[in-house]
């Protein structure tokens, strides 16, 4: 390594250390006595046992998919803040099929639940796509609205069709609706019990690879990225931008929808609640995509990293830290890491983009 790459490596490490340090300081302020064990927990809990590691992968599954959803949109020049709603719709459809279509043999039911979730997510994602293509409504606005509509609509559907009054949630999924573990439960376990990790993580990784192939190897990907990089040039080239916006949003929706399905079919006995906050997996998808530099393969790793922090973070509760403090610490660490990756890639390509997009100041480097 020469001197300048050494320096840039050191500065990245420094930024990440700074992120960790600020996280630690927040813990200190919040509760000085417990700060050290809590901090050790967030950094190491995910690898203290194979079961915890399995839980990391389990938690990573849906956010890899929502991350892919956001990243894919980004490549097309769209900001899919609607992953949350698409996720919720997909989740509901999968849960509904799992509960109501018991006449189908389990393997077929599982596959149809996932496919139907993908379809429903795609249709939901198409709404902002259509609005943008034909009415020039900014996708961020319509995504925010469709997020809330999805949440309230699903609340209503749960209460109407699959309600469990005892728990005030949806009914729990029958055991034969869970995704197969494919032996993963033998690898990822500790002395007490196995992790719930299942084939979902493998599906998520395969999906990421598929998205990578679509973006990098196909004419469709070529078109989408051309639109994302330079709309005017794409138009000049005769590429149908409107069609691309709609298809792109549908694919994003399908990805988030599958995320929703996998999130509830994982054997943990999770039921869909009647909620008044948007599904956080959708927003985590934004951090995951950001941290993975919007690269599908990068998203696999960033999804796992974010899950790792969340699993460790959740554990910090045993030291008496409130969930809000924990969220702040995790977010700070994620954003400092993302900052390092971002700066590293963009400095290479010229500072143009960030300066132009984020600050509206003068461009510095051509």
């Amino acid at each position: 390594m020469n001197r300048s790459s050494m320096l840039s490596f050191l500065s990245s490490v420094l930024v990440i250390v700074a992120g960790l340090a600020i996280g630690f300081i927040i813990l200190l302020i919040s509760n000085a006595n417990q700060a050290i064990p809590a901090f050790t927990t967030i950094l190491t809990f995910g690898i203290t046992s194979m079961r915890n590691l399995g839980d990391v992968l389990l938690f990573a599954t849906p956010i890899i998919l929502t991350g892919l959803s956001v990243a894919f949109a980004f490549k097309t020049g769209l900001f899919n803040i609607g992953a949350s709603g698409q996720f919720t719709i997909g989740a509901f459809v999968a849960v509904f099929i799992s509960l109501e279509f018991t006449f189908l043999p389990p393997p077929i039911r599982i596959i149809s639940a996932i496919l139907a979730a993908a379809t429903a997510g795609a249709l939901w994602g198409a709404i902002p796509g259509l609005l943008k293509a034909y009415r020039n409504v900014h996708e961020v606005i319509s995504c925010i609205m469709t997020n809330y509509i999805a949440m309230l609509f699903v609340n209503y559907m749960i209460i109407t069709f699959i309600f469990d009054p005892g728990n005030a949630t949806s009914r729990r999924l029958p055991a034969d609706s869970n995704l197969p573990t494919m032996g993963l439960d033998y690898i990822f376990r500790d002395a007490l019990r196995p992790s719930f990790v299942n084939v979902g993580i493998i599906l998520a990784i395969l999906t990421a690879v598929l998205i990578y192939i679509i973006l990098e190897k196909t004419t469709f990907g070529y078109e989408l990225k051309a639109c994302g990089f330079n709309k005017d040039a794409a138009k000049y080239a005769g590429i149908n931008e409107n069609r691309n916006i709609i298809t792109s949003m549908m694919i994003c929706g399908a990805l988030a929808g599958i995320g929703g399905a996998l999130n509830f079919m994982n054997g943990t006995g999770l039921a869909m609640g009647i909620v008044d906050v948007l599904a956080s997996e959708g927003f985590m998808g934004i951090s995951v995509a950001f941290l993975g530099l919007n690269h599908p393969i990068g998203v696999i790793f960033s999804g796992i990293l974010v899950a790792y922090l969340y699993i460790g973070g959740a554990r910090m509760q045993v030291f008496g830290f409130s969930i809000e403090i924990i969220e702040i610490v995790i977010s700070i660490i994620i954003y400092f890491c993302a900052f390092v990756f971002l700066v590293k890639t963009f400095v290479g390509k010229g500072l143009v983009k960030i300066t132009k997009k984020t600050t509206q100041k003068e461009e510095i480097v051509e």
């Binding site: 004419t219 990225k225 040039a233 794409a234 080239a237 480097v365």
Partner: protein, 506 residues
Amino acid sequence: MYTIEMRNVTKIFPGIIANDNITLQLERGEIHALLGENGAGKSTLMSVLFGLYKPETGEIYKNGELVTITGPNDANTLGIGMVHQHFKLVHNFTVLENIVLGVESTKNGILQMQDARARVKALSEKYAFDIDIDAEIRHISVGMQQRVEILKMLYRNNEILIFDEPTAVLTPQEIEALMNTMRNMAAEGKSILFITHKLDEIKQVADRCSVLRKGKMIGTVKVSETSKEELSEMMVGRKVALSLDKNEAKKGAAILQVKNLQKSSGDGKPLKNISFDVFAGEILCIAGIEGNGQTDLVYALTGLSEVDSGQILMEGTELSKMKIRKRTEMGISHIPEDRHRHGLVLDYSLAYNTILQTYYTKEFQHRSFLRKDAIMAYARRLIDRFDIRSGQGEETPARSMSGGNQQKTILAREIDRNPKLLIAVQPTRGLDVGAIEYIHKQLLEQRDAGRAVLLVSLELEEVMNVSDRILVMYEGEIVADVDPKKVTFNELGLYMSGAKKDKVVA
């Protein structure tokens, strides 16, 4: 002692030595031209001086003292200012805001615009810039935008002014005005570094000229003692034909027929009842001062925008409602006016840019998968044929190519499709004399192969040399249909300024 001396500067990019041990000396009060082929390293050298690139080796001296310039701020402190090849203005800010951006004076955290306004006004009057300082950048012409860039430098009291191809985007009138401004500034003792591909401009204003070739300094000469031919030979390394010899056009059937085209409003002037034909085997030129409807006309022909009424017939087929893709497939090629906006996807590689309209054809795709090998081979073929120079060949990101080579890439792509109609809007903008010679030959070759060429150009020289027939546009109307052999420069100028007008029937 020199105002600025760059000594032994070497700057390396992946795959290319952009500046190879270059020494450049700038005297106080001189206009120093920098000449070189596309990709010779002119912009790079100036970016080093302005602190945008850190050179591998080399020193910069100001008034004999060693200085370090690590960024535009350092450059500014040392009195160095730069107008870039592609402007760097904030489009939704006003002229005044752009000028003071970065050096705002504040009092208790509140912007103090009054002093700034007075100073900018004074400067603008001194150089007779005639500019509305409260207009937003996006509403003013390119020529005006350049004045804003110049005012930015003057406002910062810069003494050393770098102009990177300032004239490439200007109309002849604006160029004249810029030349005057430069002379005035030099007379006040400011030193100017001036990049241009136009030898006439060098002859007009520059005192000395340094020539770069493939990253190396070939030499610095006194302009008054050097002929244009000598300059171009230094630059290219061989003799260049500065004028074009061409044979008679063999005019064939009408390829494109435009009938009563109307468009009420657009980016420029409304189009008023435009009718003309373009024939196979001819180069038809649309001349005119920028902003007289040429852009809208080209957009209408290529499908980038719609028209209100009228017909566009290509070999008898009605085009005016057709999608862009369809028109391309019908045999229209388009070298766009704005290469960064329409012509290129800067984040794609050179190779990916060469297939922008053909990526979906059998040649480049198999069952929806891009055929990378075929694409790369195709790009290499174009690189060879059109002599496109870049650091990493077909893999070079378009963004890191020199301006002229970006233009050549677009040209290569559009010409190689063997169109029936080639619409070329300022195809030689930003190209060096060697490349211009080459492009003009290509246009002639297309013509001689029986294709129709529609050339839109702002440069009278080019209009007169290349075309077989000239239409002049003024205020969205065609006001003349003339033969370049019979018309004089002067007459053309009268048409262009609206002083003279014929009744033109296609």
